[in-house]
Symmetry: C2
Amino acid sequence: MDNVTDVTVSPCSDSAYIKPLRVFYKQNGVSKTWDAVKSHDSVCILLFNKSTESFVFVKQFRPAIYIQKSELQKHEDHWKIDTGKYPGELGITYELCAGIVDKDKNLDVIAQEEILEECGFQVPLEKLQRITSYRSGEGTIGAQLTLYYAEVCEEVRITEGGGNLEEGEMIELIEVLLKDIKHWIMNESISKPATLMFAVMWFLDNKTCDTNSSS
Amino acid sequence: MDNVTDVTVSPCSDSAYIKPLRVFYKQNGVSKTWDAVKSHDSVCILLFNKSTESFVFVKQFRPAIYIQKSELQKHEDHWKIDTGKYPGELGITYELCAGIVDKDKNLDVIAQEEILEECGFQVPLEKLQRITSYRSGEGTIGAQLTLYYAEVCEEVRITEGGGNLEEGEMIELIEVLLKDIKHWIMNESISKPATLMFAVMWFLDNKTCDTNSSS
């Protein structure tokens, strides 16, 4: 999945996904400006596979991570990235199963659909536990993330998952054993977001009797 | 701090802080595009005040959150937000002490400076514990966050903090008692990012004997 080639980067002034905006306002009478991005809210789901005593995460190439870790070389009105020097694996991340809220559906229904689409498990709505909600990058993007939890097992695995191929998603499933999870989340060579790390810590605090499972 | 008025929002095509980019690439031979934002890496610091047995957080108005929660009304080439209907308190967040990496300094030095500037505590570099690093919103922004921990006390509080007034920062310090922290982080009426929530869970797992301090 990390065979990434022919990378070109251009300025992006018109996107359905990111709206860069400048906010002008007065705070306690003082004039201020701030640059921000309006973006979609999301749902994400911590999946625990009871059959294997493992967490189920999605692994994928993320251009946003890749361009942050690479050197952009200017060519007239765009940039190129030398994929020999900066291989695609730099952009590989490990994440919770997740989806943006871009449909007029309840959040739990979107969560249910993403679990099936990305991970292949059929989870009834009543088995989805809503944990909490919070904000993504508060300085730049203020989108809301709503976190769910679902326990799954091999009996409810009905497809291979892998994401929506029509939308070009290339998602690999990975499972991390409960006994290894604490070391795994603190391993910085594995790129992952804080939301996954919080979700795992919540699980260890709420769903296990012995939180020191890895020691 | 939440007396916010005269809010105008315009498209933002040239920002020192957010660079909206379109990434064109081939993944396993399949041509794909993705819209992403190049942004600054950050450091953030979980502060625990031993004198008061409290966590020290910063409270501030965040335009990125505010525009996400408000209705933007189109006026020719810009938008307005009705602050009567959408008061500034909608944009108030509670965060870790933090700063962007926009200086040619070591991360721990930036962390040390932010602790003093925002929170008023003088912390020697050797008392800063680097916990881990992770990615912010992996779909849109791939910036790296490096998390530190520092224990402080009233004896090392040398200023009132409040941020860099010259840069227009208006930051209020708040303290949340250790015994209340679990309920506080799960309280969704208090806007906060996952990074704060993970940091607190890390503390409860690593810095206390009894993680059920609030029950």
